[in-house]
């Protein structure tokens, strides 16, 4: 649905992004993660045919973003960082204007406007000037605007960046709705929680794509599913040996009465590990599951330094 090959853009002698390559499948929610200035917005602008690449190529719905820019823009919906609504116009007038720009026929336009405003709980405020809307309502209307022409791909550039927690919750809820509807979405964000919750795959960007994978696989690669076991006493070699021989156990380490066991699967391995410990004479005080967070993976990838707190319960 979206493909980038060695995509790059420079401004003067400075490269905003370079060597961006990934492929996005239909129905996938794909996150672009990175700090401010990492090139996320530039990447979104390149993929939405708003600016031309300095190098590389990209396709949206099979169309080259440079050679067929007008057609690409007809197939994408973009939610910019700010809602960018016309505040002296009502919700319906805003959507109607953009529907006209996309040349949606009048009857269909009216039908879709009503459907989208109802979907986002804005129908009752349809004739209110958008200048009187709350931030969350504005962002929801901007999402409706991006969907009005039923684009093949939706691009959301920092949709919750400038919102208070309540408004951000409303927008995330709207994104969840789109996700369940099977829409293909590119979500640019530096909110790792949001990405972990909404994205099927994420790309870490910092001037270039550093890593692309699903949040689950990234977490797994950063340490895998882990069980921490609190013991009454420091475990001896017998106890450690009893665990290391188990096929589903990848590694075992001990620190001051606490065992850290990296396993293939927490649910299947935990009962056997507890039984093995008791059988080896250990006194088990507590067992808990821990996983690496996307945040810890993010810092590892971005800073190249796995922090001591890379694992969190």
């Amino acid at each position: 649905m979206v493909r980038a090959e060695g995509l790059g853009r420079s401004f003067g002698s400075l490269w905003a992004v370079r060597d961006v390559s990934f492929e996005l499948r239909a129905g996938e929610v794909f996150g672009l993660l990175g700090p401010n200035g990492a090139g996320k917005t530039t990447t979104v602008r390149l993929l939405t045919a708003l600016i031309a690449p300095s190098e590389g190529r990209a396709w949206v719905d099979g169309l080259d973003v440079v050679e067929r820019a007008d057609e690409v823009r007809a197939r994408i919906g973009l939610l910019t960082e700010t809602p960018a609504l016309y505040e002296r116009m009502t919700a319906v007038q805003n959507l109607d204007f953009f529907g006209r720009l996309h040349q949606v026929p009048a009857g269909l336009r009216a039908e879709r406007i009503e459907r989208l405003l109802r979907l986002f709980d804005l129908w009752d405020r349809r004739n209110t000037l958008t200048g009187q809307f709350s931030k969350g309502m504005k962002q929801k209307l901007a999402i409706a605007r991006a969907m009005l022409h039923e684009p093949a791909v939706l691009f959301f550039d920092e949709p919750t960046a400038a919102l208070d927690p309540e408004a951000a919750f409303i927008v995330r809820d709207a994104l969840e709705t789109l996700r369940t509807m099977g829409r293909t979405i590119v979500l640019s964000t530096h909110n790792l929680d949001e990405a972990a919750r909404l994205c099927d795959r994420v790309a870490f960007i910092r001037g270039q794509v550093l890593r692309v994978d699903s949040p689950a696989r990234l977490r797994q690669a950063a340490g895998g599913p882990t069980i921490e076991v609190d013991l009454a006493a420091e475990p001896g070699d017998t106890i450690l040996g009893a665990l290391r021989v188990r096929p589903g156990v990848w590694s075992v380490s001990a620190t001051a009465g606490c065992l850290t066991v990296v396993v293939e699967d927490v649910r299947t391995e935990t009962p056997g590990i507890v039984r093995a410990l008791v059988h080896a004479g250990a006194e088990v005080l507590g067992v808990r599951e821990t996983t690496a967070t996307l945040e810890s993976v993010y810092f590892e990838v971005m800073c190249g330094q796995p922090s001591s707190g890379a694992f969190a319960s």
Binding site: R45, L50, D70, R73, L78, L85, R88, M89, F97
Partner: protein, 265 residues
């Protein structure tokens, strides 16, 4: 190629914005009302001062306007006074489009609403044309409407001969040829200046420089040193149109997607 439906959508939206923006709406409505009524007020004053006309005044006026030889002295004074208001119908199509264009573009810069528009299949030529038409039309309509009112009032209050004075070829060339040309230059100046500043009033002050030559016409006419006739107005209209087209081309380059997104701050 410009698509009519998209152009119409942009013009319609711009008009909606003008109607809902009180400051802008007032700047479109108030000047024509004042400029249409001001001559009438002045005629009342002139009625009492005609007897104090300087001795060489009549010769000076007739030298520039030989077609007024049949006018009695008091009507000659009125005709000369009316002539000074011609320039107001050149200022209106210059000032109003400048105000609308600057408000429109600076407003979009401030709200960052252009990025969402640019992410649609709209071509920047269509966007520029739509904004230009929406800025130009109110100025022209206001000037022409005010001119129509002034001609009617001149006919009703001052008589048919004075109505003929304000519908001479000089007036028609100025109002219907030079006025639109000034409007074109004004819109182009508004677009160019607005891309570089973030405040509509600053943009208007800078863009307003283009109105200075128009004010110059008032001065030279008032002192009677130079009479601008119909061919001169048509010549100026041609020059201004060429200038306007050139500036619009510069404006179109500034109005490119990349420029707006990466250089407009």
């Amino acid at each position: 190629m410009i698509r009519g439906s998209i152009l119409a959508a942009i013009v319609r939206r711009e008009f909606l914005e003008i109607v809902r923006n009180r400051v802008l709406l007032l700047s479109v409505i108030v000047p024509p009302v004042i400029l249409a009524t001001l001559p009438i007020l002045l005629f009342g004053v002139l009625g009492t001062t005609a007897s104090r006309v300087p001795p060489n005044f009549v010769e000076m006026v007739l030298a520039g306007h030989p077609q007024w030889r049949d006018l009695p002295e008091d009507q000659l004074v009125t005709a000369f006074a009316l002539q000074q208001f011609l320039v107001t119908y050149l200022i209106l199509p210059g000032y109003i489009p400048l105000a609308i264009a600057t408000y429109s573009i600076v407003g979009e810069k401030q709200s960052r609403s252009l990025e969402a528009v640019l992410a649609t299949p709209v071509r920047t030529g269509e966007l520029l044309a739509g904004k230009s038409i929406a800025a130009l039309l109110p100025g022209l309509l206001a000037a022409w409407l005010a001119y129509g009112v002034m001609v009617s009032v001149a006919g009703l209050v001052l008589g048919a001969r004075m109505a003929c004075v304000v519908t001479e070829s000089t007036w028609l060339a100025a109002v219907f040829a030079l006025g639109p040309a000034i409007g074109l230059v004004s819109v182009a100046a508004g677009i160019i200046v607005s891309s570089r500043v973030n405040d509509a009033r600053t943009a208007q002050q800078i863009g307003g420089v283009i109105l200075l030559p128009v004010i110059g016409i008032v001065v030279v006419q008032a002192v009677g040193s130079f009479v601008v006739d119909a061919p001169a107005y048509l010549g100026m209209a041609a020059i201004m149109t060429i200038l306007g087209v050139g500036l619009i081309r510069i404006g179109a380059a500034i109005f490119g997607r990349e420029s707006i997104l990466t250089r407009w701050k």
